[in-house]
Point group: C2
Chain length 85, copies 2
């Protein structure tokens, strides 16, 4: 079993008004040393082993469903989990 | 300067219908080895050094704004960045 953590964020050229709104709110709360905020999505998947390499499968899932590759980029981290006996 | 990556997900006791919808969609696309999907939020902050310890500040920002601590839990990762000369 694998634990897969995927983060999806906008590409640099795409405006992120929600991230800016959060930055504004943090400034109002007094966190003046915050320089920028980017908002993205986070997915945590549990995936059983299969015939296919896990990274290949995760790439494909990101391209086909989890990210809009026209506007977004993704990163992922795959950890193998020990299953309980 | 610090790069702060925050992930916010629902507590275990809270239903996550969007995560389930994504899991259903992945199943329909043929990824039958996906066992569960949890959907969360992701924040990437650039924070300048200040008098206060960065971890203390990030904790406070999560508690006050980034997460709804009644329903959500958060994790963060802080990396110190080299500033360009």
């Amino acid at each position: 079993m694998y634990l897969v953590k995927v983060t999806v964020t906008y590409k640099e050229s795409i405006l992120d008004p929600k991230g800016e709104a959060i930055n504004d709110a943090l400034q109002r709360l007094g966190y003046h040393n915050v320089q920028s905020v980017e908002l993205g999505k986070y997915f945590e998947l549990q995936v059983a082993k299969s015939d296919r390499p896990i990274a290949e499968q995760v790439n494909e899932m990101c391209d086909r469903l989890l990210a809009n590759v026209n506007m977004e980029t993704y990163h992922y981290e795959i950890t193998e989990m020990r299953t309980q006996a």
